[in-house]
Symmetry: C2
Subunit: 344 residues, 2 copies
DNA sequence: ATTAGCCGTTTAAACGTTTAGATTTTGAAG
DNA sequence: CTTCAAAATCTAAACGTTTAAACGGCTAAT
């Protein structure tokens, strides 16, 4: 049996389908008496509107496409949660496309052919589905100019940006500067930094923040304190060992993510230096496990939920034809735990 | 300017719209010469099909609704990833509804009014969007009978089940039994267990597996070794302290999740008992951090990706009118790391 | 030369809505 | 009892597809 449609309601309530539509949407006045007849019919026939038909006519789906480079990467779920938060309040639905790049290409995928193909496919699917706009969730911040042709529908980027579109990013430079300030306030001056991969934009920005802090706070500058990691635990381990072997080792380390801090902890332990007693460390990301390690690690938390929220909010305005600022920057926040002590 | 439609193609290629549809779908033979004219027109006009219109006519959206109780809970992303894996291969799209229960109600939400309301809303949205089927991703395994009325479209559950529908669950009893066997093989016989909340089904199942192992392997049975935790770290800590204070403490602990293992580690450390030297521990879940703790913890990994994959596969068959087995059980897998030693 | 059958193509209706614009109803004013 | 404007309702087209059924032309068999 066919599902009940507006037509069945019209028949039962003895009105035209137009009238039914009017009571459904409140787009025109209808006499209370008629209104009642219609709502009763709706009730009795257990009518459920068909958004597909509505979308076809209205040329608007109230659905946005979310392209995630990989939903299993730690930042994605909270961003999606933020998108949902706003979406719920504004009747916006989410069509999720998961590129699965981490599995299909590997963690540090570059701008490969395969990657472009996946992205293009995703967009074309979403376009066919007539989404009103697109949010792109990357795993690393990168310049994605030219990657996606959204054919006129608005798009906003998160972990990624483009020369012409909106993007939501936290301020890496400032976050790293703030982490440094915190260490300085705790009395540290010989502070090392372990970066992520240097072709990554956050790495460069955070390094900039480091330099700025060194300058502003007049810290002793020593190139030996600047170590290039690769985001992985092992590099945190290896580089910390090197740092601790220095004639004059640092009293604090700023690591560009929490995963590398795991390596820092291990190296320190093996070298017999205590954290936070003899060595302090700050991470980035506020991963769940940073509260589980011992010592519990102090870290810069990322405004992931807010990024998602702001992304869809911007998109919403774009969809409704309003102007929106090109770059939105929610703030990172230092989560104080136990891995930073005062320098002697 | 309106987007180009099948009608424009027809005009340009000098054929009827039906013919265009036929070449688009390959549903009927068309002369090569005509075919060429049409595809050329498609190319030139940069035609993109409108799936909304197609869905309306076909009464099929090729879209499934995924209701997640909370996407930020650790099990959700991998399940979604599995859903995507199959979805990509079979041209199934995903409309994601995130109930955000963890934020809105709290971690151990029961069967509250608010919860039922969110669920009902989600289903009704999805129904309006005319999804072909629904996958429900819970955070705990529970009986959800009567919660959702999917009005005739198929639904399959993951972390949750119903008396009438399909559900995908791993075998908790067997997983716990296997963990026990492993410990026994390592020479342990005095084995304690720290459960999750006892109103949770996995807790009860796993306890069953524990009992079975105790019986099968003829281990000394001691009620003092059975501790009721609440999934949280603190309970792991507290209960381990109690266990270690026993006149005859266990040589191994089976913890029903990795988070409580964090507490186990801490308690052991504070009591000066070494892991895995004097005490062994196995967790559940294979959380990312279980590889970051020291010792790296041995744990039962959950087949999350596979659950998602099987869920959508079952749904796919259901949508196409095929029968499908009611309960699918992908297997858990022991991840051997460093927290289990041989008993002396 | 007629006819049957097949192939390729077209016609037209349908899917469930929205929404201009036309039409009818209502009720107040004359 | 008319008249008229305002309010309520209806008619019908449209959104972009799919698809059953009809159609026309061709080939091959009679």
């Amino acid at each position: 049996m066919r599902k009940t449609s507006i037509k069945d309601i019209a028949l039962k309530a003895n009105v035209s389908i137009a009238t039914v539509s009017y009571v459904l949407n409140g787009t025109r006045n209808v006499r209370p008496e008629t209104h009642k007849r219609v709502t009763e019919a709706i009730e009795e026939l257990n009518y459920k509107p068909n958004d597909i038909a509505k979308s076809l006519k209205r040329n608007r789906t109230n659905t946005i496409g979310v392209i995630a480079e990989d939903v299993t990467v730690f930042n994605a779920p909270d961003i999606i949660d933020g998108i949902n938060d706003f979406g719920d309040r504004h009747d916006l639905h989410i069509l999720l496309v998961n590129l699965r790049l981490d599995k299909r290409i590997g963690r540090n995928f570059g701008d490969t052919e395969a990657y472009r193909k996946y992205a293009a496919n995703a967009v074309s699917e979403l376009l066919s589905k007539q989404v009103d706009g697109i949010i792109y969730i990357g795993v690393h911040t990168r310049d994605l100019t030219g990657l996606i042709d959204a054919e006129g529908i608005p798009i906003v980027y998160t972990y990624g940006y483009t020369q012409n579109d909106i993007s939501i990013q936290y301020n890496d430079e400032q976050a790293s500067y703030e982490a440094m300030s915190y260490l300085v306030r705790k009395g540290h001056s010989r502070i090392a930094i372990i970066s992520g991969l240097m072709d990554s934009i956050p790495s460069r920005q955070r390094l900039k923040g480091y330099y700025k802090a060194v300058t502003d706070f007049e810290l002793p500058f020593d190139p030996l304190l600047i170590k290039m990691g690769d985001w992985e635990r092992e590099s945190g381990y290896r580089l910390t060992a090197e740092l601790l072997a220095l004639p004059e080792p640092p009293t604090a380390i700023l690591s560009m993510n929490d995963v590398m801090v795991v390596g820092v902890l291990q190296a320190a332990d093996e070298c017999g230096v205590s954290i936070p007693g003899e060595l302090s460390v700050i991470g980035f990301d506020d991963r769940e496990f940073s509260d589980y390690l011992r010592p519990r690690i102090t870290t810069m938390g990322l405004p992931l939920h807010e990024m998602g929220y702001q992304a869809i909010e911007a998109l919403y305005h774009l969809i409704n034809g309003n102007k929106v600022q090109t770059l939105v920057m929610p703030e990172c926040r230092l989560i104080e735990r136990d891995s930073v002590g005062v320098a002697q």
